[in-house]
Amino acid sequence: MTSSLNLWLIPVLPLAGAAINGFLGKKSSRTAVTTVGLVFSGIAFAWALSVALRFSSVDLPYQEFVAHWIRSGAFSADFALYLDQLSLVMLLVVTGVGFLIHIYSVGYMWDDPGYYRFFAYLNLFMFFMLTLILANNYLVMFIGWEGVGLASYLLIGFWFTKDSAASAGKKAFIVNRIGDFGFLIALFLIIQHFGSLNFTQVIAQVQPISPETGSAGLLTAIGILLMMGACGKSAQIPLYVWLPDAMEGPTPVSALIHAATMVTAGVYMVARSHVIFERAPMALMVVAVIGTLTAFFAATIGIAQTDIKKVLAYSTVSQLGYMFMACGVGAFSAGIFHLMTHAFFKGLLFLAAGSVIHAVGGEQDMRKMGGLRSYVPWTFLTMGIATLAIAGIPPFAGFWSKDEILWQAYSSDHGSWVFWLIGIITAFITSFYMFRLLFMTFFGDYHGAQVDPHGQAHAAHGHDDHGHGEPHESPIVMLVPLMILAFLSVVGGLVGIGNRFEHFLAPVFGSGAVSEVAGETASRVTEYVFMGISVAVALLGLMLAHVLYVSKPYLPQRIADSLNGFYTAVLHKYYVDEFYAKLFVKPLIQGSTTILWQGVDRKIIDDTVNNAADGARHVSDEVRHMQSGNLRSYAGWIAAGSALVIAYMIWMGVR
């Protein structure tokens, strides 16, 4: 290994920032807090860049030992870091986008009383996320995994005085627990069978196993359980329900955690353990199915949402579905590619949405917006770019990655035309609702004049100085990140041309079916055909949206009425939340109330304790008469007792 890269600096710096802000921030001024928060995350980003520059000179995978942690018998898990192409990509994405969103937050959260808290949490999240990425074994990864869960809980419930926010945080946390349960079981299985959680060792042990051998069942189990964890973290069916509610958090949080970085942790984890999945076709199938269903399902819900952030949330879910679809068909590099581009444009979308909300003074309902493009041109511009990107219009970033995924879904040996079909329909829906969002927000004429400037969101955001009356452009500090991200969303996809990205990641995922297929001219033709289809679909969605929401605004209502049952179902997200409430939550509450509380706690535990106490009191009531207050009686007791002791000792043979 060449000269040390000091990777440990990258996670530790944000941690230091979090500590400083968390402990001292309350007293110090906003500028100080800003400086600390930005400087530490910025240095982390800079360091990540320098690492990337020196990357070629490092022999991979580069591992860095930090400290001993657990050493029990043969098993050992250390605090150690691991760097290869995959984690480098994630590293750059997280630090870069994270840093941009930090900058953005300065403008967005400036008036919030919990300013220092926000930055402390944000830096804390950065620390955990980087730990997750750079971990060299599943256990450290799990620390980061749980840590980002914690950070997301804290940030979703950032305005904890608001019930919905607090409960949303709780919901996210609990739902994630379910996924983590599976993840943990998977880890236990890995320890059980491979005796280590170290990536390199696990891979080394899994490599020789071929899908046909007996232990494939084991690998399948591990894979499915890992996928369960991924479902929790990355909001896949059936555990996606927390993500839409998570929009209660501040918009930068939604952008950073619930679009760009954390929710992709699941994808990263699946990709990281690709060796296992590749040897468990069953698990791969599960991943693919879940991903595909989620993509379609969430997209359909996205159509009917009127809250701008909810729309983005569901689109996030469906995009994550795409990524999982890619992983499921064995095209991990495609998934990661989409992860990166998605980080760019979805982060951008959220930030732009935040800017819009900021512009209209905290209003999130798209029906109360419209015609904003004249008020907030920059926001409009960037958001348009992002929309084009996500809709998959070339040459924007989303096009390349999404098209790659679709192509793989069809062509790779794990894939099939079903995935492709659903994927293409989803692409259509995606572009439709994204443009719907765009048109509803920026076109037509402004409906927001009568917005009560002191709405609840208003109170939460605390934009007292502005927000009422005319919508207005956001400050420059918020616009700069938008522009940078916009630029990235434009060019970000170009790295994928000619499968350069795949080749970059090839050392990690092994040169699978991906490159050869891409190499053949015959299939290249078909690939171009598919490319055309997806573009056409995207444009179709654009036009439909334009027809419905620009040229003939009265149509949607009519359509809604015509298929009203389905529409309401979609509007209420297929009643999934209610369903879960009936199925899991209520029985849980009932059971714990009747059995655990009334039964176990009251009847068994409390009564045991009370009876013991009563018994003690009664016994001592009798015994206390021994304390007669007479010296000689005490002497008598002592003498008798010592006689007994002596007799016992002699009997025991102590002589």
Binding site: R632, A639, R655
Partner: protein
């Protein structure tokens, strides 16, 4: 042949036993105190037989000369009379006495049965003051210092306890 040592041991032992029994038998504390002094003096004799002459001297000086003087003094000060046989404690009679008897019988049985009959040579271990001093101030320095602290505390406690409270009837000034 009955050695001088045995004779002396029996003589002093007889004094000890007599004194101890007398201590129990006498009803007046001062007689008990005097018999206890006799016991102590006889014990000093036993120590001499065992060669611990320094211990014997200190036994006489400290126990007979100081501690028992304190007792006698207290008896005289409080003018303690003949004790009346009150029936205060059934436990002492029902459990204490049998317990005491049982314990002592057991111990005596064990001692007589299991301790070998090898003799203790008279003066086998000359308790030379010099050596004892060496022990006290080197190996047992810490206990020694601790006991000195104990003594100090005891003195202060005694002063505080016996000092006449302002309101109580005047006792003998001490």
């Amino acid at each position: 042949m009955v050695s001088v040592h045995l004779i002396l041991f029996l003589a002093f032992g007889a004094v000890c036993v007599a004194g101890a029994v007398n201590l129990l038998a006498q009803t007046h504390p001062i007689n008990s105190a005097l018999s206890l002094i006799a016991v102590m003096a006889a014990l000093a004799g036993e120590y001499l037989l065992l060669g611990a002459e320094f211990v014997a001297a200190v036994q006489v000086i400290v126990y007979a000369g100081a501690i028992m003087v304190l007792f006698v003094f207290t008896i005289m000060l409080l003018n303690a009379g003949v004790e009346e046989r009150t029936k205060g404690s059934r436990v002492a009679v029902l459990f204490g006495i049998p317990g005491m008897l049982l314990g002592s019988i057991l111990v005596g049985w064990v001692v007589l049965r299991h301790s070998g009959t090898e003799a203790v040579v008279a003066g086998a271990l000359p308790g030379d003051p010099k050596v004892i001093g060496q022990l006290l101030f080197h190996e047992f320095l810490l206990p020694f210092e601790i006991t000195s602290v104990l003594i100090l505390i005891a003195i202060m406690g005694a002063v505080v306890l016996a000092s006449k409270p302002a309101t109580s009837p005047a006792g003998k000034v001490e």
